[in-house]
């Protein structure tokens, strides 16, 4: 289950690098471009993690509490994985509607997956 994987990955950097190497071997293809994409993705991921961490910490301080570093790093990592999933779903929704660009409707569809109620959606739009 995904949950166990996330919980076990509290020391995620070492584990993820191993998985990435295996994935790259499996995909094959032109080795250098794969590595380039990976490096740039790592850069984007680090920037994403920084902003995610700042958002999380500001939220925590609003409640007057503290948060441990492991938790904040884990939340940032979860958010990044969610972003990847979201990107793939958005692309699929746009393609299904025979569109090349992602629309508001696609994002709303992705948001409707879970608990986000009509009110929150109206507030977001």
């Amino acid at each position: 289950m995904e949950v166990n994987i996330f919980i076990a990955r509290f020391d995620f950097p070492s584990i993820r690098s191993e998985n990435q190497e295996k994935e790259m071997e499996a995909v094959g293809g032109s080795g250098s471009s794969e590595v380039e994409n990976d490096l740039e993705m790592k850069l984007l991921r680090d920037r994403f993690r920084l902003s995610a961490i700042s958002i999380a910490e500001s939220q925590v301080s609003k409640n007057g509490m503290e948060v441990s570093k492991v938790v904040v790093a884990c939340v940032a990592d979860l958010a990044f994985k969610y972003t990847e999933r979201l990107a793939k779903d958005l692309q699929l929704f746009a393609q299904h509607a025979n569109r090349k660009s992602v629309n508001m409707e696609d994002v709303i569809l992705c948001g409707k997956h879970g608990h986000i109620t009509e009110e929150k959606l109206e507030f977001l739009t």
Binding site: M41, F48, S51, I55, A79, V102, T125
Partner: protein
């Protein structure tokens, strides 16, 4: 009232990266079938990369911010119920299943 949120350009570049990677994968599959050595960029409709609307991008940033906020608020609730002042991994563990199901 100040509020930290994600940079729209950052999210946009991350998404574009994932989309280009996916279209490249699909191109690789297509070229393996068609025995072509190279496929020109944008030569066929399916191979053009997806892009994002400006307001869709803003919505996505907001959605991600809400994800993090939900995770933090739920963990805070658990921690307060237990009487701790610091959010630990155990608090995060208990909210994780429901959070992943909701999003």
């Amino acid at each position: 009232m100040e509020e930290t949120t994600f940079d729209c350009d950052l999210i946009h570049s991350i998404m574009k990266r994932i989309w280009t990677l996916r279209t490249l994968e699909r191109e690789n599959v297509a070229t393996n079938d068609a025995l072509e050595s190279e496929v020109g960029a944008g030569s066929s409709k399916k191979n053009r990369t997806t892009s994002a609307n400006a307001s869709a991008l803003k919505l996505t940033c907001e959605l991600l911010r809400v994800f993090i906020t939900e995770a933090v608020q739920r963990a805070v609730a658990i921690a307060e119920a237990e009487g701790d002042t610091q959010i630990e991994a155990t608090h995060l563990e208990s909210i994780l299943p429901q959070l992943l199901l909701d999003f």
